[in-house]
């Protein structure tokens, strides 16, 4: 064990049941918690049942329906919609049979898994949380090691409370300075992904450090860690601080009283030692970052909103040139087009990346007093029913509705379009989500990723738009 350890090293060491090879590169890792969804878990439960195995520690799992469900307000009034769906009904019966708590569509705290866990206070510093969804990296915002796993690993975790785990290399992404006004955590992480590429952090656990990260709210930090998987990170950490502890205090399932005092003492130790060496280090200056949008079909195909669609011919790598040409063909865009000239048909505010209260506030601030442009269909899907209630208490729902946006029930919705919220072929969406892959929001759909405020700006303008120009006119 090295004398000086990173936060990541400490988390792996404290959860190692046994080494599985001589060098300790592969370990049997104790996993504290998981959150299960209806679409990556069915075959795991079938596997347990077929082998006659029980769940090792049922209280360490929470089941949430989020991916395939409707987000239409009438979904509860029509309960047969839920019962009819094979995945949802199988999930309900699995959770019941194996003793796992479930937030189904009737539950007052239903929502997207990575929104629900933090708001309950189940994502705590120092934990290892693995779940059948790639955006499990979100929990790094609390100084927890979160990572996505496949269905076989879900089964392995449920049966053994552990995973066979290969230790990652350490990468530091140090973000100096401060984000300029109108620039958000989403823009920061998009700038990072553009800079290092969709595989830039592959094989690494990333720790985000620096003043710009410390200044972010916990919700902003969740956005950063959530999207770190889009540059290949298999774990994204931010050391917990007083802001983290204040966020957790009073959350329904977070420790309280004497337990909290003991927890805080341990949590304050969760930091990278001075003198610990990272295997790789990236420096980013926050002051240079502008609002970002994607123009292609990979999250690293992004640019500041003030720029134009790039020309693949200027790309020196033949492989990247070919990928860029293909992306522009799919997106129906020509090199040199100003990004602000790209017209949109749809606007979507939602997803585990950007459907928290702070995100909805940021978008509502832009929407207030304006209308969605003619021909643009806009929907807001809060990340959870808790977020929805809090937003309604502030009147955000009214702002969105008055602007012609639909106000929906929680779910993953149009982020991956596993429910009935689908972008038709050839149509274009400004989206606060995390992936602009081909066909992601529907076969032939075209997705531009951006912050929720930028989606709001695009929705009211009818085209991609620098949100900062709207804020100026606000002040007039």
């Amino acid at each position: 064990m090295a004398a000086y350890r990173t936060l990541y090293d400490k988390l792996v060491d404290s959860h190692t049941v046994r080494a599985l090879d001589a060098g300790g590169g592969e370990v049997l890792l104790y996993v504290d918690r998981t959150v299960l969804n209806e679409y990556t878990s069915p075959q795991a439960f079938t596997g347990l049942r077929d082998a006659g195995r029980a769940v090792f520690r049922p209280q360490s799992a929470l089941g949430v329906i989020d991916h395939v469900n409707s987000t239409r307000p009438e979904r509860i009034a029509l309960p047969r919609v839920q019962a009819d769906d094979l995945q949802m009904s199988y999930f309900v019966s699995n959770c019941k049979e194996f003793g796992i708590e479930l937030f189904d569509l009737y539950h007052r705290q239903q929502g997207i898994e990575h929104v629900v866990m933090p708001e309950l206070g189940l994502a705590l510093p120092g934990l290892v949380i693995a779940a059948g969804d790639s955006h499990t990296t979100t929990y790094g915002a609390f100084g927890a090691l979160g990572f996505g796993i496949g269905t076989s690993d879900i089964e392995h975790f449920l049966a053994t409370q552990t995973l066979v785990y290969r230790r990652l290399r350490n990468m530091e992404i140090a973000v100096a300075g401060h984000l300029p006004p109108g620039v958000t955590a989403k823009d920061l992480i998009m700038a990072v992904i553009r800079r290092i590429g969709a595989d830039g952090a592959q094989g690494h656990a990333v720790e985000f450090t620096g003043p710009a990260i410390r200044t972010l709210s916990i919700e902003g930090r969740m956005t950063i860690c959530n999207m770190a998987v889009e540059c290949g990170a298999r774990g994204a950490l931010i050391a917990p601080d007083d802001k983290t502890f204040a966020y957790l205090e009073g959350k329904p399932r977070a420790p309280k009283g004497h337990a909290l005092i003991a927890a805080l003492e341990a949590w304050r130790m969760l930091r990278t030692d001075d003198g610990a060496v990272f295997d790789a280090r990236i420096e980013i200056s926050a002051g240079d970052i502008e609002p970002m949008v994607t123009w292609g079909t990979s999250p690293d195909q992004a640019a500041p909103i003030s720029e134009a669609v790039p020309d693949p011919a200027l790309e020196t790598s033949p492989a990247r040139r070919r990928d860029a040409e293909r992306a522009l063909g799919y997106m129906g865009l020509s090199p040199g087009t100003r990004l602000t000239d790209i017209r949109i048909d749809h606007a979507f505010i939602g997803s585990c990346t950007n459907a928290r209260l702070e995100d909805l506030r940021g978008a509502a601030r832009i929407v207030k007093g304006r209308r969605a442009a003619a021909g643009v269909s806009a929907i807001v899907v809060p990340g959870s029913r808790e977020v929805r209630r809090l937003a309604e208490a502030e009147g955000l729902d009214r702002i969105f509705r008055e602007a012609g946006f639909e106000w929906r029930e929680p779910g993953c919705s149009m982020c991956l379009a596993m429910n009935d919220d689908i972008i038709p072929p050839g149509e274009r969406c400004a989206s606060s989500t995390n992936r602009n892959f081909e066909g992601r929001q529907g076969a032939g759909s075209r997705t531009h990723l951006m912050s929720p405020a930028m989606v709001a700006a695009a929705a009211v303008s009818g085209h991609l738009c620098d949100v900062r120009t709207l804020e100026v006119s606000d002040a007039v």
Partner: protein
């Protein structure tokens, strides 16, 4: 669950020369609605293999002979990025793919391969280039996992793999069964771990 053991496998290799081929493309969401693992060969690369009318796209490599019976794929960097959906790996296996040689793999996908008897080999740029040429010519290649060799018409090259992954693939072993041999050790660890963290009780 146990999978088919991987020993020595021969076949043609199909080239997909792109970076960042994501699991949405490998297995579109339409095929994720089931509760079992079956029927996913139809979904594999569905939107690349089939047009809007459901007819085979003749310009896609896996629709052309001899690559419609490929045992192997060769591809660029970051293969399998995106969603954690293991359905992508199940679909590849059901289509008959036994190994993928890529410049690099996304982490979750790489782990999913190992749990399903799909050999994932990370290779240098030059190896990827040579195999892509083999693919385009329709050459057969042979992978011998025990010997850790990759044979083409040009000769034999070695490849690296972790000892445990190799053992699991060779035997087609059930990972859960293997881990449960340490059940007592896990229970002891858990009581010590939780005992020191009263706030998690």
């Amino acid at each position: 669950m146990p999978s088919e053991p991987f020993e020595r496998v021969s076949g043609v290799i199909a080239a997909l020369p792109s970076a960042n081929i994501d699991t949405d493309v490998i297995m579109p969401k339409t095929f994720l609605k089931g509760i079992d693992r079956s029927g996913l060969e139809k979904g594999l690369f569905h939107d690349l293999r089939f047009d809007e009318q459901g007819a085979l796209r003749q310009d896609f490599v896996l629709n052309q002979a001899p690559w419609n019976t490929s045992a192997f794929l060769v591809t660029g960097a970051n293969f399998g990025c995106g969603s954690s959906r293991e359905h992508a790996v199940w679909g590849l296996r059901q289509f008959g793919i036994r190994a993928i040689i890529a410049r690099s793999f996304a982490g979750i996908f790489f782990d999913n391969c190992a749990r399903n008897g799909l050999l994932a080999i990370e290779a240098e740029e030059e190896t990827v280039r040579q195999l892509t040429e083999c693919g385009e010519r329709g050459d057969k290649i042979t992978i011998d996992l025990a010997a850790q060799t990759l044979e083409t018409v040009r000769g034999v090259a070695g490849f690296g793999i972790g000892e445990r992954r190799k053992y699991m693939l060779l035997k087609g072993l059930d990972a859960v069964g293997m881990t449960l041999q340490w059940r007592t050790e896990i229970e002891t660890f858990q009581s010590r771990y939780l005992g020191a963290r009263a706030w998690l009780a």
